[in-house]
Protein backbone atom coordinates (compact mmCIF):
# COMPACT_ATOMS: atom_id res chain seq x y z
CA UNK A 1 0.00 0.00 0.00
CA UNK A 2 1.34 3.41 -0.93
CA UNK A 3 1.48 6.08 1.70
CA UNK A 4 1.46 9.87 1.40
CA UNK A 5 1.54 12.74 3.87
CA UNK A 6 -1.62 14.01 2.28
CA UNK A 7 -4.25 12.48 0.02
CA UNK A 8 -6.64 14.92 -1.63
CA UNK A 9 -9.83 13.68 -3.24
CA UNK A 10 -11.20 16.02 -5.90
CA UNK A 11 -9.19 18.28 -8.22
CA UNK A 12 -11.59 21.20 -8.12
CA UNK A 13 -10.72 24.63 -6.72
CA UNK A 14 -10.67 23.44 -3.10
CA UNK A 15 -8.70 20.27 -3.72
CA UNK A 16 -6.09 21.90 -5.93
CA UNK A 17 -5.54 24.74 -3.46
CA UNK A 18 -5.28 22.32 -0.55
CA UNK A 19 -2.71 20.26 -2.39
CA UNK A 20 -0.70 23.34 -3.40
CA UNK A 21 -0.41 24.66 0.16
CA UNK A 22 0.53 21.28 1.60
CA UNK A 23 3.10 20.48 -1.10
CA UNK A 24 4.65 23.95 -0.77
CA UNK A 25 5.32 23.11 2.85
CA UNK A 26 7.14 19.91 2.00
CA UNK A 27 4.40 17.29 2.24
CA UNK A 28 4.15 14.43 -0.21
CA UNK A 29 0.77 15.00 -1.80
CA UNK A 30 -1.30 12.89 -4.17
CA UNK A 31 -4.53 14.17 -5.61
CA UNK A 32 -7.22 12.04 -7.26
CA UNK A 33 -10.05 13.00 -9.56
CA UNK A 34 -12.45 10.73 -11.38
CA UNK A 35 -12.67 13.06 -14.35
CA UNK A 36 -10.44 13.23 -17.36
CA UNK A 37 -9.80 16.93 -16.79
CA UNK A 38 -8.90 18.60 -13.50
CA UNK A 39 -10.49 21.78 -12.19
CA UNK A 40 -13.84 20.39 -11.14
CA UNK A 41 -16.64 22.73 -12.09
CA UNK A 42 -14.16 25.53 -12.90
CA UNK A 43 -13.80 24.14 -16.40
CA UNK A 44 -17.46 24.73 -17.07
CA UNK A 45 -17.35 28.26 -15.67
CA UNK A 46 -16.71 30.38 -18.71
CA UNK A 47 -17.75 33.64 -17.05
CA UNK A 48 -15.46 36.05 -15.27
CA UNK A 49 -15.29 35.70 -11.51
CA UNK A 50 -16.29 38.29 -8.94
CA UNK A 51 -14.15 39.41 -6.02
CA UNK A 52 -10.84 41.18 -5.73
CA UNK A 53 -7.41 40.41 -7.16
CA UNK A 54 -6.78 38.00 -4.27
CA UNK A 55 -9.86 36.07 -5.31
CA UNK A 56 -8.77 35.98 -8.95
CA UNK A 57 -11.57 38.34 -9.91
CA UNK A 58 -12.34 39.09 -13.55
CA UNK A 59 -10.56 35.90 -14.59
CA UNK A 60 -12.79 33.30 -16.22
CA UNK A 61 -13.31 30.13 -14.17
CA UNK A 62 -11.67 27.76 -16.61
CA UNK A 63 -8.56 29.96 -16.74
CA UNK A 64 -8.36 29.83 -12.94
CA UNK A 65 -8.47 26.05 -13.24
CA UNK A 66 -5.51 26.09 -15.63
CA UNK A 67 -3.56 28.42 -13.34
CA UNK A 68 -4.17 26.26 -10.28
CA UNK A 69 -3.13 23.16 -12.14
CA UNK A 70 0.18 24.76 -13.09
CA UNK A 71 0.72 25.89 -9.51
CA UNK A 72 -0.02 22.39 -8.27
CA UNK A 73 2.42 20.68 -10.57
CA UNK A 74 5.08 23.31 -9.80
CA UNK A 75 4.59 22.64 -6.10
CA UNK A 76 5.08 18.92 -6.68
CA UNK A 77 1.51 17.68 -6.24
CA UNK A 78 1.06 14.32 -7.93
CA UNK A 79 -2.24 14.68 -9.79
CA UNK A 80 -3.93 11.45 -10.83
CA UNK A 81 -6.87 11.91 -13.18
CA UNK A 82 -9.30 9.24 -14.35
CA UNK A 83 -8.80 7.81 -10.90
CA UNK A 84 -12.02 7.21 -8.98
CA UNK A 85 -11.89 7.00 -5.23
CA UNK A 86 -14.47 4.31 -4.53
CA UNK A 87 -14.26 4.28 -0.78
CA UNK A 88 -12.85 5.94 2.33
CA UNK A 89 -12.12 3.38 5.00
CA UNK A 90 -11.04 3.46 8.64
CA UNK A 91 -7.47 4.52 9.38
CA UNK A 92 -7.46 7.02 6.49
CA UNK A 93 -7.27 4.42 3.81
CA UNK A 94 -8.78 4.93 0.40
CA UNK A 95 -9.43 2.65 -2.51
CA UNK A 96 -8.91 4.03 -5.98
CA UNK A 97 -9.94 2.65 -9.32
CA UNK A 98 -7.27 3.56 -11.83
CA UNK A 99 -8.98 3.80 -15.17
CA UNK A 100 -7.71 1.34 -17.74
CA UNK A 101 -7.24 3.97 -20.42
CA UNK A 102 -4.73 6.12 -18.55
CA UNK A 103 -3.54 3.71 -15.90
CA UNK A 104 -3.30 0.00 -15.19
CA UNK A 105 -7.03 -0.59 -14.77
CA UNK A 106 -6.54 -1.92 -11.26
CA UNK A 107 -7.78 -1.12 -7.78
CA UNK A 108 -5.15 0.61 -5.66
CA UNK A 109 -4.99 1.16 -1.92
CA UNK A 110 -3.48 4.29 -0.43
CA UNK A 111 -3.05 5.51 3.10
CA UNK A 112 -2.64 9.13 4.07
CA UNK A 113 -1.25 10.69 7.20
CA UNK A 114 -3.97 13.18 6.42
CA UNK A 115 -6.83 13.25 3.95
CA UNK A 116 -8.68 16.21 2.49
CA UNK A 117 -12.02 15.44 0.89
CA UNK A 118 -12.93 18.06 -1.71
CA UNK A 119 -15.53 16.23 -3.76
CA UNK A 120 -17.72 19.26 -4.33
CA UNK A 121 -21.44 19.20 -4.78
CA UNK A 122 -24.19 17.62 -6.82
CA UNK A 123 -27.26 19.31 -8.22
CA UNK A 124 -30.57 19.21 -6.43
CA UNK A 125 -33.58 18.16 -8.40
CA UNK A 126 -37.25 18.91 -8.18
CA UNK A 127 -39.94 16.51 -9.33
CA UNK A 128 -42.90 17.50 -11.49
CA UNK A 129 -45.17 15.60 -13.84
CA UNK A 130 -43.06 13.87 -16.53
CA UNK A 131 -39.77 15.05 -15.02
CA UNK A 132 -38.19 11.77 -16.05
CA UNK A 133 -38.68 12.50 -19.77
CA UNK A 134 -35.53 12.79 -21.86
CA UNK A 135 -34.94 16.51 -22.28
CA UNK A 136 -35.35 17.36 -18.61
CA UNK A 137 -31.76 17.86 -17.46
CA UNK A 138 -29.76 19.47 -14.71
CA UNK A 139 -28.32 22.89 -15.41
CA UNK A 140 -24.93 21.38 -14.71
CA UNK A 141 -25.59 18.82 -17.42
CA UNK A 142 -26.29 21.65 -19.84
CA UNK A 143 -23.01 23.28 -18.84
CA UNK A 144 -21.09 20.05 -19.25
CA UNK A 145 -22.53 19.36 -22.67
CA UNK A 146 -21.99 22.82 -24.12
CA UNK A 147 -18.84 24.04 -22.37
CA UNK A 148 -16.88 20.79 -22.14
CA UNK A 149 -18.17 18.78 -25.08
CA UNK A 150 -19.23 21.48 -27.52
CA UNK A 151 -22.74 20.10 -27.88
CA UNK A 152 -25.91 22.17 -27.54
CA UNK A 153 -28.13 20.77 -24.78
CA UNK A 154 -31.20 21.75 -26.76
CA UNK A 155 -32.48 24.37 -29.11
CA UNK A 156 -35.25 26.00 -27.11
CA UNK A 157 -34.87 25.77 -23.38
CA UNK A 158 -36.78 26.66 -20.25
CA UNK A 159 -34.67 27.29 -17.15
CA UNK A 160 -36.04 26.53 -13.69
CA UNK A 161 -34.17 28.39 -10.97
CA UNK A 162 -33.02 31.97 -10.62
CA UNK A 163 -30.02 31.41 -8.37
CA UNK A 164 -26.58 32.16 -9.75
CA UNK A 165 -26.41 28.77 -11.45
CA UNK A 166 -29.73 29.27 -13.23
CA UNK A 167 -28.78 32.77 -14.30
CA UNK A 168 -25.23 32.01 -15.37
CA UNK A 169 -26.22 28.86 -17.25
CA UNK A 170 -29.05 30.72 -19.01
CA UNK A 171 -26.50 33.22 -20.24
CA UNK A 172 -24.15 30.43 -21.28
CA UNK A 173 -26.98 28.75 -23.20
CA UNK A 174 -27.47 31.97 -25.12
CA UNK A 175 -23.72 32.08 -25.75
CA UNK A 176 -23.85 28.54 -27.11
CA UNK A 177 -26.51 29.60 -29.57
CA UNK A 178 -29.56 28.18 -27.80
CA UNK A 179 -32.79 30.04 -27.26
CA UNK A 180 -33.94 30.51 -23.67
CA UNK A 181 -37.73 30.61 -23.70
CA UNK A 182 -38.16 31.67 -20.08
CA UNK A 183 -36.53 31.67 -16.70
CA UNK A 184 -38.85 30.39 -13.98
CA UNK A 185 -38.56 30.31 -10.19
CA UNK A 186 -41.10 29.43 -7.53
CA UNK A 187 -39.56 32.00 -5.22
CA UNK A 188 -41.01 35.50 -5.34
CA UNK A 189 -37.55 37.05 -5.82
CA UNK A 190 -34.50 36.28 -7.91
CA UNK A 191 -32.00 34.35 -5.85
CA UNK A 192 -28.75 35.13 -7.67
CA UNK A 193 -26.80 38.31 -8.32
CA UNK A 194 -28.86 41.07 -9.90
CA UNK A 195 -26.16 41.74 -12.50
CA UNK A 196 -26.34 38.12 -13.69
CA UNK A 197 -30.12 38.48 -14.04
CA UNK A 198 -29.83 41.81 -15.82
CA UNK A 199 -27.50 40.52 -18.51
CA UNK A 200 -29.96 37.71 -19.29
CA UNK A 201 -33.05 39.94 -19.13
CA UNK A 202 -31.67 42.52 -21.52
CA UNK A 203 -31.35 39.90 -24.25
CA UNK A 204 -35.10 39.43 -24.07
CA UNK A 205 -35.48 36.35 -21.86
CA UNK A 206 -38.68 36.70 -19.80
CA UNK A 207 -38.55 36.00 -16.06
CA UNK A 208 -41.43 34.28 -14.31
CA UNK A 209 -40.97 34.57 -10.56
CA UNK A 210 -43.54 32.95 -8.25
CA UNK A 211 -44.04 30.40 -11.01
CA UNK A 212 -43.30 26.72 -11.11
CA UNK A 213 -43.31 23.92 -13.64
CA UNK A 214 -46.62 22.08 -13.64
CA UNK A 215 -45.61 19.49 -16.16
CA UNK A 216 -43.30 18.59 -18.97
CA UNK A 217 -45.07 17.60 -22.17
CA UNK A 218 -44.14 14.92 -24.64
CA UNK A 219 -44.28 11.15 -24.92
CA UNK A 220 -40.73 10.12 -25.88
CA UNK A 221 -38.99 13.36 -25.03
CA UNK A 222 -39.80 16.91 -24.04
CA UNK A 223 -41.83 18.86 -26.58
CA UNK A 224 -43.22 21.51 -24.27
CA UNK A 225 -43.71 22.69 -20.73
CA UNK A 226 -46.56 24.16 -18.73
CA UNK A 227 -45.81 26.57 -15.92
CA UNK A 228 -48.18 28.20 -13.47
CA UNK A 229 -48.19 30.91 -10.85
CA UNK A 230 -47.86 29.83 -7.22
CA UNK A 231 -49.45 31.29 -4.10
CA UNK A 232 -47.67 32.07 -0.84
CA UNK A 233 -47.67 28.36 0.03
CA UNK A 234 -46.10 27.39 -3.31
CA UNK A 235 -49.36 25.84 -4.53
CA UNK A 236 -50.20 26.51 -8.17
CA UNK A 237 -53.11 28.82 -8.82
CA UNK A 238 -55.57 27.30 -11.32
CA UNK A 239 -56.09 29.37 -14.43
CA UNK A 240 -52.56 30.79 -14.46
CA UNK A 241 -51.07 28.06 -16.66
CA UNK A 242 -48.77 29.09 -19.50
CA UNK A 243 -47.44 26.81 -22.20
CA UNK A 244 -44.06 27.03 -23.94
CA UNK A 245 -42.83 24.98 -26.87
CA UNK A 246 -39.42 23.83 -25.69
CA UNK A 247 -37.25 20.76 -26.30
CA UNK A 248 -35.28 21.05 -23.09
CA UNK A 249 -36.01 21.91 -19.47
CA UNK A 250 -33.04 22.80 -17.28
CA UNK A 251 -33.24 22.42 -13.53
CA UNK A 252 -31.10 24.71 -11.38
CA UNK A 253 -32.54 24.49 -7.89
CA UNK A 254 -29.41 24.46 -5.80
CA UNK A 255 -26.62 22.13 -4.85
CA UNK A 256 -26.05 19.51 -2.19
CA UNK A 257 -22.66 18.54 -0.78
CA UNK A 258 -21.40 15.29 -2.23
CA UNK A 259 -20.46 13.88 1.11
CA UNK A 260 -20.77 10.12 0.56
CA UNK A 261 -17.09 9.43 1.21
CA UNK A 262 -17.21 11.40 4.44
CA UNK A 263 -20.35 9.59 5.57
CA UNK A 264 -18.58 6.33 4.87
CA UNK A 265 -15.61 7.35 6.97
CA UNK A 266 -17.67 7.54 10.13
CA UNK A 267 -16.93 11.18 10.93
CA UNK A 268 -19.75 13.13 12.62
CA UNK A 269 -22.24 14.47 10.13
CA UNK A 270 -25.06 16.95 10.44
CA UNK A 271 -27.92 17.96 8.22
CA UNK A 272 -27.44 21.68 8.04
CA UNK A 273 -29.77 23.52 5.65
CA UNK A 274 -27.57 26.61 5.84
CA UNK A 275 -24.62 24.65 4.48
CA UNK A 276 -26.72 22.92 1.85
CA UNK A 277 -27.52 19.53 3.34
CA UNK A 278 -25.64 16.64 4.90
CA UNK A 279 -22.21 17.94 5.79
CA UNK A 280 -19.45 16.86 8.15
CA UNK A 281 -19.15 18.65 11.46
CA UNK A 282 -15.93 20.64 10.96
CA UNK A 283 -13.83 23.20 12.80
CA UNK A 284 -12.76 26.52 11.27
CA UNK A 285 -10.05 24.77 9.21
CA UNK A 286 -12.35 22.09 7.85
CA UNK A 287 -11.11 19.31 10.12
CA UNK A 288 -13.76 16.69 10.87
CA UNK A 289 -14.33 14.73 14.07
CA UNK A 290 -11.77 12.22 12.73
CA UNK A 291 -8.37 13.80 13.41
CA UNK A 292 -6.50 14.76 10.21
CA UNK A 293 -9.52 14.06 8.01
CA UNK A 294 -10.59 17.35 6.45
CA UNK A 295 -13.39 18.52 4.21
CA UNK A 296 -12.92 21.57 2.00
CA UNK A 297 -15.01 23.38 -0.56
CA UNK A 298 -18.64 22.69 -1.37
CA UNK A 299 -18.58 19.27 0.28
CA UNK A 300 -18.39 21.04 3.64
CA UNK A 301 -20.95 23.70 2.75
CA UNK A 302 -22.17 25.19 -0.52
CA UNK A 303 -20.44 28.46 -1.44
CA UNK A 304 -18.79 30.03 -4.45
CA UNK A 305 -15.66 28.63 -6.10
CA UNK A 306 -13.73 31.62 -4.76
CA UNK A 307 -14.55 30.56 -1.19
CA UNK A 308 -13.75 26.95 -2.00
CA UNK A 309 -10.22 27.94 -3.02
CA UNK A 310 -9.61 29.64 0.32
CA UNK A 311 -11.18 26.82 2.31
CA UNK A 312 -8.90 24.40 0.46
CA UNK A 313 -5.85 26.48 1.31
CA UNK A 314 -6.80 26.58 4.97
CA UNK A 315 -7.22 22.81 5.17
CA UNK A 316 -3.88 22.25 3.41
CA UNK A 317 -2.04 24.64 5.71
CA UNK A 318 -3.64 23.19 8.81
CA UNK A 319 -2.82 19.61 7.81
CA UNK A 320 0.79 20.65 7.23
CA UNK A 321 0.91 22.28 10.64
CA UNK A 322 -0.58 19.33 12.50
CA UNK A 323 1.88 16.96 10.90
CA UNK A 324 4.82 19.18 11.76
CA UNK A 325 5.58 20.54 8.30
CA UNK A 326 5.35 24.18 9.24
CA UNK A 327 5.97 26.43 12.22
CA UNK A 328 3.23 27.83 14.35
CA UNK A 329 4.12 31.41 13.47
CA UNK A 330 3.96 30.90 9.72
CA UNK A 331 0.81 28.85 10.07
CA UNK A 332 -0.95 31.55 12.04
CA UNK A 333 -0.02 34.26 9.56
CA UNK A 334 -1.12 32.22 6.57
CA UNK A 335 -4.36 31.16 8.15
CA UNK A 336 -5.14 34.70 9.27
CA UNK A 337 -4.65 35.92 5.73
CA UNK A 338 -6.98 33.21 4.44
CA UNK A 339 -9.58 34.02 7.06
CA UNK A 340 -9.47 37.68 6.05
CA UNK A 341 -9.90 36.82 2.36
CA UNK A 342 -12.75 34.50 3.18
CA UNK A 343 -14.30 37.13 5.40
CA UNK A 344 -14.30 39.69 2.60
CA UNK A 345 -16.03 37.21 0.26
CA UNK A 346 -18.70 36.53 2.81
CA UNK A 347 -19.80 40.16 2.99
CA UNK A 348 -22.60 42.02 1.34
CA UNK A 349 -26.18 41.29 0.51
CA UNK A 350 -25.50 37.69 -0.46
CA UNK A 351 -23.45 36.88 2.65
CA UNK A 352 -24.33 33.48 4.17
CA UNK A 353 -26.02 35.26 7.09
CA UNK A 354 -28.42 37.08 4.78
CA UNK A 355 -29.75 33.94 3.10
CA UNK A 356 -33.49 34.21 2.62
CA UNK A 357 -33.70 37.76 3.97
CA UNK A 358 -35.27 40.53 1.94
CA UNK A 359 -32.86 43.46 1.99
CA UNK A 360 -34.66 46.66 1.19
CA UNK A 361 -31.81 49.16 1.24
CA UNK A 362 -28.19 49.05 0.10
CA UNK A 363 -25.36 49.79 2.53
CA UNK A 364 -25.50 53.32 1.12
CA UNK A 365 -29.16 53.61 2.06
CA UNK A 366 -30.47 53.48 -1.52
CA UNK A 367 -33.71 51.54 -1.99
CA UNK A 368 -32.94 48.18 -3.61
CA UNK A 369 -34.54 47.76 -7.02
CA UNK A 370 -37.61 45.57 -6.50
CA UNK A 371 -38.05 45.36 -10.23
CA UNK A 372 -34.62 43.72 -10.45
CA UNK A 373 -35.64 41.14 -7.88
CA UNK A 374 -38.87 40.23 -9.61
CA UNK A 375 -38.28 40.86 -13.33
CA UNK A 376 -34.51 40.69 -13.69
CA UNK A 377 -33.87 44.29 -14.62
CA UNK A 378 -33.71 47.65 -12.91
CA UNK A 379 -36.52 50.01 -13.89
CA UNK A 380 -35.67 53.37 -15.39
CA UNK A 381 -36.94 55.32 -12.39
CA UNK A 382 -34.88 53.15 -10.05
CA UNK A 383 -31.55 53.16 -11.89
CA UNK A 384 -30.96 56.88 -11.48
CA UNK A 385 -30.53 56.51 -7.71
CA UNK A 386 -27.30 54.56 -7.96
CA UNK A 387 -23.89 56.23 -7.65
CA UNK A 388 -22.50 54.59 -10.79
CA UNK A 389 -25.20 56.15 -12.92
CA UNK A 390 -24.57 59.78 -13.83
CA UNK A 391 -25.52 62.06 -16.65
CA UNK A 392 -22.42 63.85 -17.97
CA UNK A 393 -21.07 65.70 -20.93
CA UNK A 394 -18.91 63.55 -23.15
CA UNK A 395 -18.07 59.88 -22.78
CA UNK A 396 -18.31 58.35 -19.32
CA UNK A 397 -18.96 55.01 -17.68
CA UNK A 398 -22.45 54.15 -16.49
CA UNK A 399 -22.26 51.44 -13.85
CA UNK A 400 -25.55 49.66 -13.30
CA UNK A 401 -24.26 47.84 -10.23
CA UNK A 402 -27.03 48.06 -7.66
CA UNK A 403 -26.35 45.42 -5.03
CA UNK A 404 -23.60 45.21 -2.43
CA UNK A 405 -21.47 42.29 -3.55
CA UNK A 406 -17.79 41.65 -2.78
CA UNK A 407 -16.26 42.73 -6.08
CA UNK A 408 -13.95 45.56 -7.14
CA UNK A 409 -12.03 45.00 -10.40
CA UNK A 410 -13.65 48.05 -12.03
CA UNK A 411 -11.91 50.33 -9.57
CA UNK A 412 -8.46 49.18 -10.68
CA UNK A 413 -9.43 48.88 -14.32
CA UNK A 414 -9.70 52.64 -14.78
CA UNK A 415 -6.27 54.23 -15.03
CA UNK A 416 -7.91 57.65 -14.81
CA UNK A 417 -9.52 56.80 -11.48
CA UNK A 418 -13.03 57.56 -12.68
CA UNK A 419 -14.41 54.73 -10.55
CA UNK A 420 -14.25 54.55 -6.76
CA UNK A 421 -15.23 51.70 -4.48
CA UNK A 422 -12.81 52.34 -1.62
CA UNK A 423 -11.50 49.83 0.86
CA UNK A 424 -14.89 48.35 1.64
CA UNK A 425 -15.18 45.76 -1.13
CA UNK A 426 -18.97 45.55 -1.16
CA UNK A 427 -19.55 49.29 -1.61
CA UNK A 428 -21.33 50.29 -4.79
CA UNK A 429 -18.96 51.78 -7.37
CA UNK A 430 -19.13 55.58 -7.63
CA UNK A 431 -18.47 57.32 -10.93
CA UNK A 432 -16.66 60.66 -10.56
CA UNK A 433 -18.50 63.62 -11.99
CA UNK A 434 -17.02 64.93 -14.13
CA UNK A 435 -15.16 61.78 -15.07
CA UNK A 436 -11.82 62.12 -16.87
CA UNK A 437 -12.91 59.17 -19.04
CA UNK A 438 -10.99 58.41 -22.25
CA UNK A 439 -13.43 55.77 -23.43
CA UNK A 440 -10.80 53.03 -23.31
CA UNK A 441 -13.40 50.48 -22.28
CA UNK A 442 -11.22 48.54 -19.83
CA UNK A 443 -13.82 49.01 -17.11
CA UNK A 444 -16.54 47.55 -19.34
CA UNK A 445 -14.53 44.39 -19.98
CA UNK A 446 -13.41 44.14 -16.35
CA UNK A 447 -16.93 43.94 -14.96
CA UNK A 448 -17.77 40.29 -14.27
CA UNK A 449 -21.42 41.29 -14.08
CA UNK A 450 -21.38 43.04 -17.47
CA UNK A 451 -22.99 46.00 -15.74
CA UNK A 452 -20.75 48.77 -17.08
CA UNK A 453 -21.60 50.73 -20.21
CA UNK A 454 -19.90 53.68 -21.83
CA UNK A 455 -22.34 56.41 -22.72
CA UNK A 456 -21.67 59.50 -24.75
CA UNK A 457 -24.77 61.60 -24.62
CA UNK A 458 -23.32 64.05 -27.16
CA UNK A 459 -22.04 61.59 -29.72
CA UNK A 460 -23.56 63.45 -32.67
CA UNK A 461 -26.23 66.09 -32.73
CA UNK A 462 -29.41 64.32 -31.70
CA UNK A 463 -27.60 61.02 -31.11
CA UNK A 464 -25.85 59.32 -28.28
CA UNK A 465 -23.49 56.38 -28.35
CA UNK A 466 -23.81 53.43 -25.99
CA UNK A 467 -20.99 50.91 -25.67
CA UNK A 468 -22.07 47.51 -24.40
CA UNK A 469 -20.18 44.37 -23.43
CA UNK A 470 -20.97 41.67 -25.99
CA UNK A 471 -20.09 37.99 -25.67
CA UNK A 472 -22.18 36.42 -28.40
CA UNK A 473 -21.69 35.21 -31.94
CA UNK A 474 -22.03 36.40 -34.59
CA UNK A 475 -20.46 39.69 -33.63
CA UNK A 476 -22.27 42.57 -35.32
CA UNK A 477 -20.30 44.56 -37.89
CA UNK A 478 -19.73 48.26 -38.24
CA UNK A 479 -22.68 49.82 -40.00
CA UNK A 480 -25.08 47.04 -39.01
CA UNK A 481 -28.51 48.39 -38.29
CA UNK A 482 -30.88 47.00 -35.77
CA UNK A 483 -32.78 47.74 -32.62
CA UNK A 484 -31.56 49.01 -29.31
CA UNK A 485 -33.11 46.86 -26.58
CA UNK A 486 -34.04 48.20 -23.16
CA UNK A 487 -33.03 46.63 -19.86
CA UNK A 488 -36.16 44.50 -20.21
CA UNK A 489 -35.00 43.15 -23.57
CA UNK A 490 -37.73 44.91 -25.49
CA UNK A 491 -36.85 47.05 -28.55
CA UNK A 492 -36.85 50.74 -27.64
CA UNK A 493 -35.24 52.47 -30.61
CA UNK A 494 -33.32 52.10 -33.84
CA UNK A 495 -29.61 51.54 -33.44
CA UNK A 496 -26.59 51.42 -35.68
CA UNK A 497 -23.26 49.85 -34.88
CA UNK A 498 -20.51 52.44 -35.07
CA UNK A 499 -17.58 50.66 -33.45
CA UNK A 500 -16.42 47.21 -32.35
CA UNK A 501 -13.42 46.70 -30.10
CA UNK A 502 -11.92 43.30 -29.33
CA UNK A 503 -8.47 43.41 -27.79
CA UNK A 504 -6.72 40.68 -25.77
CA UNK A 505 -7.00 42.76 -22.58
CA UNK A 506 -10.78 42.48 -22.85
CA UNK A 507 -10.51 38.68 -22.70
CA UNK A 508 -13.28 37.85 -25.18
CA UNK A 509 -15.63 40.54 -23.94
CA UNK A 510 -16.20 42.54 -27.10
CA UNK A 511 -17.13 46.18 -26.83
CA UNK A 512 -19.88 47.03 -29.23
CA UNK A 513 -20.78 50.69 -29.67
CA UNK A 514 -24.17 51.60 -31.06
CA UNK A 515 -25.55 54.93 -32.07
CA UNK A 516 -29.03 55.62 -30.73
CA UNK A 517 -31.29 58.68 -30.64
CA UNK A 518 -30.09 60.91 -27.79
CA UNK A 519 -33.15 60.35 -25.63
CA UNK A 520 -32.33 56.62 -25.49
CA UNK A 521 -28.82 57.07 -24.07
CA UNK A 522 -30.01 55.87 -20.68
CA UNK A 523 -32.46 53.32 -22.05
CA UNK A 524 -30.80 51.21 -24.75
CA UNK A 525 -28.62 48.49 -23.22
CA UNK A 526 -28.42 45.72 -25.82
CA UNK A 527 -28.31 45.41 -29.57
CA UNK A 528 -30.26 43.13 -31.80
CA UNK A 529 -29.66 43.03 -35.53
CA UNK A 530 -32.74 43.01 -37.73
Amino acid sequence: MKRYNLIVVGAGPAGLCAGIEAAKRGMSVILFDENEKPGGQLFKQIHKFFGSKEHKAKIRGFKIGEQLLQEASAAGVEVKLNATVTGLYPDKEIMVMHDGKMHDGKMHHYKGDSIIIATGAAENMVPFENWTLPGVIGAGAAQTLMNLHGVKPGNRILMLGSGNVGLVVSFQLLQAGCEVAALVDAAPRIGGYGVHAAKVARTGVPFYLSHTIIKAEGTDHVTGVVIGKVDDHFKTIPGTEKHFDVDTICIAVGLSPMSQLLKMSGCSMEDNPRRGGEVPVVDEYGETSVPLLFAAGDVSGIEEASSAMIKGRMAGIRAAYELGFCKENETENSLEKCAADLGSLRQGMFAPGNKGKLIEKTEEGIPVSMNLLTNGFVAEDEIVHFPGVTSQKGIHPVIECTQNIPCNPCQDACVKHCIKIGSHITSLPVVENPAPCTGCGLCVASCSGQAIFLVNENYEPGFASVTIPYEFLPLPGKGDKGKGLGRDGKPVCDAEIVDIKSIPAFDHTNLVTMKVPAEFAMKARFFKAV
Partner: protein, 104 residues
Protein backbone atom coordinates in the same frame (compact mmCIF):
# COMPACT_ATOMS: atom_id res chain seq x y z
CA UNK B 1 -36.44 8.02 22.22
CA UNK B 2 -38.66 7.76 19.17
CA UNK B 3 -42.25 6.63 19.73
CA UNK B 4 -43.16 4.64 16.63
CA UNK B 5 -46.85 4.57 17.47
CA UNK B 6 -47.24 8.31 17.77
CA UNK B 7 -50.10 9.91 15.92
CA UNK B 8 -49.02 11.42 12.61
CA UNK B 9 -52.57 11.75 11.36
CA UNK B 10 -54.24 9.68 8.66
CA UNK B 11 -52.80 8.99 5.22
CA UNK B 12 -54.47 11.44 2.85
CA UNK B 13 -54.03 10.56 -0.82
CA UNK B 14 -52.47 13.40 -2.81
CA UNK B 15 -52.88 14.45 -6.42
CA UNK B 16 -49.17 13.98 -7.07
CA UNK B 17 -48.80 10.56 -5.46
CA UNK B 18 -47.93 9.08 -8.86
CA UNK B 19 -44.80 11.22 -9.22
CA UNK B 20 -41.65 9.15 -9.57
CA UNK B 21 -39.22 10.18 -6.84
CA UNK B 22 -36.53 7.51 -7.01
CA UNK B 23 -35.72 7.52 -10.70
CA UNK B 24 -33.61 4.35 -10.62
CA UNK B 25 -36.07 2.09 -8.81
CA UNK B 26 -39.18 3.96 -9.94
CA UNK B 27 -40.59 4.52 -6.48
CA UNK B 28 -43.44 7.01 -6.27
CA UNK B 29 -44.22 9.76 -3.82
CA UNK B 30 -47.40 7.95 -2.80
CA UNK B 31 -45.50 4.77 -1.96
CA UNK B 32 -43.08 6.74 0.20
CA UNK B 33 -45.88 8.58 1.99
CA UNK B 34 -47.76 5.33 2.56
CA UNK B 35 -44.62 3.69 3.96
CA UNK B 36 -44.27 6.43 6.55
CA UNK B 37 -47.80 5.67 7.71
CA UNK B 38 -46.83 2.01 7.95
CA UNK B 39 -44.16 2.97 10.47
CA UNK B 40 -41.08 3.61 8.34
CA UNK B 41 -39.91 6.80 10.02
CA UNK B 42 -36.23 6.81 9.02
CA UNK B 43 -34.34 6.87 5.74
CA UNK B 44 -32.79 3.41 6.13
CA UNK B 45 -36.21 1.90 6.79
CA UNK B 46 -37.78 3.67 3.80
CA UNK B 47 -34.92 2.47 1.63
CA UNK B 48 -35.08 -1.09 2.82
CA UNK B 49 -38.85 -1.23 2.56
CA UNK B 50 -39.24 0.33 -0.90
CA UNK B 51 -35.76 0.08 -2.44
CA UNK B 52 -35.69 3.81 -3.16
CA UNK B 53 -32.09 4.92 -3.11
CA UNK B 54 -30.87 1.35 -3.55
CA UNK B 55 -30.64 1.38 -7.34
CA UNK B 56 -27.76 2.03 -9.64
CA UNK B 57 -27.12 5.60 -8.45
CA UNK B 58 -27.43 4.69 -4.77
CA UNK B 59 -29.73 7.56 -3.87
CA UNK B 60 -27.55 10.36 -5.19
CA UNK B 61 -30.51 12.00 -6.86
CA UNK B 62 -33.47 11.14 -4.66
CA UNK B 63 -32.14 11.06 -1.09
CA UNK B 64 -32.88 14.71 -0.52
CA UNK B 65 -36.35 14.46 -2.08
CA UNK B 66 -37.28 11.35 -0.10
CA UNK B 67 -36.13 12.99 3.10
CA UNK B 68 -38.37 15.96 2.41
CA UNK B 69 -41.40 13.76 1.79
CA UNK B 70 -40.80 11.71 4.95
CA UNK B 71 -40.33 14.89 6.98
CA UNK B 72 -43.57 16.39 5.69
CA UNK B 73 -45.48 13.23 6.58
CA UNK B 74 -43.98 13.19 10.08
CA UNK B 75 -44.51 16.96 10.51
CA UNK B 76 -40.85 17.55 11.31
CA UNK B 77 -37.98 19.41 9.63
CA UNK B 78 -36.15 17.56 6.90
CA UNK B 79 -32.92 17.83 8.86
CA UNK B 80 -34.51 15.87 11.74
CA UNK B 81 -35.14 12.73 9.69
CA UNK B 82 -32.58 10.06 10.51
CA UNK B 83 -30.37 9.86 7.40
CA UNK B 84 -29.22 6.77 5.58
CA UNK B 85 -25.58 5.82 5.51
CA UNK B 86 -23.31 5.76 2.46
CA UNK B 87 -21.58 2.65 1.29
CA UNK B 88 -18.72 2.00 -1.03
CA UNK B 89 -17.98 1.54 -3.81
CA UNK B 90 -19.42 5.01 -4.37
CA UNK B 91 -19.46 4.40 -8.13
CA UNK B 92 -20.74 1.18 -9.71
CA UNK B 93 -17.63 -0.96 -10.19
CA UNK B 94 -17.32 -4.16 -12.19
CA UNK B 95 -16.44 -7.31 -10.29
CA UNK B 96 -13.51 -7.99 -12.59
CA UNK B 97 -12.14 -4.51 -11.81
CA UNK B 98 -12.77 -4.69 -8.08
CA UNK B 99 -11.14 -8.08 -7.90
CA UNK B 100 -8.09 -6.85 -9.75
CA UNK B 101 -5.99 -5.22 -7.04
CA UNK B 102 -2.45 -4.03 -7.49
CA UNK B 103 0.21 -6.11 -5.68
CA UNK B 104 0.10 -4.99 -2.06
Amino acid sequence: MNDRLRDIGPFVPGGDDDLIICRCEEVTKGEIRQAVHEGMFTMPEIRRYLRCGMGLCQGQTCARLVKGIVAAELHIASSEVEPASSRGPVRPTEMSTLGNEEEA
